[in-house]
């Protein structure tokens, strides 16, 4: 069976979002009239347009083959986990340990498997960010865990 999966899924998701926006806006916000639009009017209109566009994308995709798209799962996971660690740790973990951890986690995705450069990179990036953001821009983040 030949299907263009990215367009099919993308179009379907967009159509669903559009529909959700229409319903949510209709239930929660005042529509007003064309003359005096309420807060719900513009988003509901856009939601309708998005739902139609989603169908326009998804329906033809059902009938044609799509291109193979390799997904970089490992890279995406490493980068996202690194960001989450930083976000969760920045206020209590202290700038230095959190930055080191973030760089090391992010570098897992790199094609070079050796260890030395990762440690060096973590040290350099941490030093730079402490200098620029803590001392330079005077950001109020503790350097070490409290």
């Amino acid at each position: 069976m030949k299907r263009d999966i990215p367009d099919l899924a993308g179009g379907a998701i967009l159509a669903a979002i559009g529909l959700f926006i229409v319903i949510y806006a209709a239930v929660h916000y005042d529509m007003g009239s064309v003359r005096r639009m309420g807060p719900g009017f513009f988003p509901a209109m856009l939601g309708g347009v998005l739902a139609v566009l989603g169908l326009v994308i998804a329906v033809p995709a059902w009938m044609r083959a799509g291109q193979e798209t390799p997904i970089a799962w490992k890279d995406a996971l490493a980068v996202l986990v690194a960001l989450l660690v930083f976000a969760a740790g920045v206020e209590r973990g202290g700038l230095v340990p959190v930055t080191v951890a973030t760089v090391l986690i992010a570098s897992i995705a790199a094609p070079d498997r050796r260890l030395g450069w990762r440690v060096l990179l973590a040290v350099v990036v941490t030093l730079l960010s402490v200098l620029v953001f803590h001392y330079g821009l005077r950001m109020t983040v503790p350097l070490w865990p409290s």
Binding site: G10, M37, F42, L50, D75, F86, E91, A109
Partner: protein, 496 residues
Amino acid sequence: MSGWEGFLHGLSVALQPEVLIYCVFGVVLGTFVGVLPGIGAMATISLLLPITYYLSPEAALIMLAGVYYGSQYGGAVASILLRLPGTPQSAVTTLDGYPLAQQGRAGVALFTSMTSSFLGSFFGICVLIVLSGFLSRAATAFGAADYAAMMILGLVAASTIGAKHPAKGLAMVVLGLILGCVGTDVNSGAQRFTFGQAELMDGVNLVALAMGLFGVAEVIANIQVAERTGVPRRIAMRDLLPRREELKRIPFPALRGASLGSFFGALPGTGSTISSFLAYATERRISRHPEKFGNGAVEGVAGPEAANNAAAISAFVPTLTLGIPGDPIMALMLGALVIHGVQPGPLMLEARPDMFWGLIASFGIGNLLLLILNLPLIGIWVSMLRIPFRWLYPAILIFVCLGVYSVRGAPFDIFAVALIGAIGYALSLARFNPALLLLGFVLGPLIETNLRRALLISRGDPMIFLERPISAAFVAAIAALILVSVVQSLRRVRPA
């Protein structure tokens, strides 16, 4: 203020040391990221947005603009040496730049691209001065309906012209418009789509959105790809000088490219990428030796490079005089100005001459700097291509985190960046253009305000969009664009 007086006044602004230093920083950083495949102007400007909170609006805009046109100079380097466009605008430069490099004439290709870029920018500056004076006077006749129609035309044009899947582009624009609705409604004070999150009351954070879509998503997409760049040979100063016969083939293609570029750059929806392709096609068509194109024709480098630089400058015309960005990069610039409480529009020339003329003068200074710095320093830029991406991307991520956190000290924003980054990567996998989402996001609140105002004035009669000649022309153009894309899409489904 006349053009010349204004320019002199602008020089007095742009040459202040605390402004000049950001201009230099912007163009150098722009060249650097332009040279490197994997990070573009869009990502870099997103990353710099938090820094602009610490600067005056003039310095901020001059720095961000410097990154943009600086990246156009740098983009050509990777295109010529590696056949990897450093920026999308320089993709067409690979066609003849890379064959020249293979014939051992990389230096000549680089010289051609740098000088043509300079010519193009200079032409663009002149067009910007003339057109913006004219447009800001004409814009006083614009009403709310005209603004709304023009912005919608810009969005439709940006997502349909030259696009393979116009529906996907339009869907991104509409999604961006919806995201722009999040937050407190200006007219009624209602909280829209905040889902009880206090952090969303001011709307989706532009910095988090831009960093997620362009910083994080591009890092993920490039970790493996950008590692595979080959190592180019060294280039010495004397390799740069073209033969006399080649030198003569630069100015006219560059001038033609510059005219095309400044025209299409100023139009909403068409920008420097399209201009560079048009310039290439034009040069090949009018050449007496079209067979040389693709095999190392100097004209094939000069035309497009002049065009994309001219377009990068003239793109500021609608942004500054109407407050309407024509492409996603300009949307980011406008966003940066709005962060500073500056709303560009027809009154900007009168109300903020420092910013307007300072920016224009900085274009002159920045491009001159790029020309005189980049030719002697070309060896350094080429060696930048040897930096492996794995050294850069963890640093970029830390910069993203600290930058977005520094804006208002909310870890919420870093979580938002991660989520938006994941969405952005998914969008790029499915070949949806996230830049159009950003364009819709920035224009959304402006369109809604003008739409509501127009219909309030007309007492709810939508005919106001057809009764006013200016907006009627825009509506006709929108209809034509949609019609053309529908016809093209139907043809693709059922080949005759």
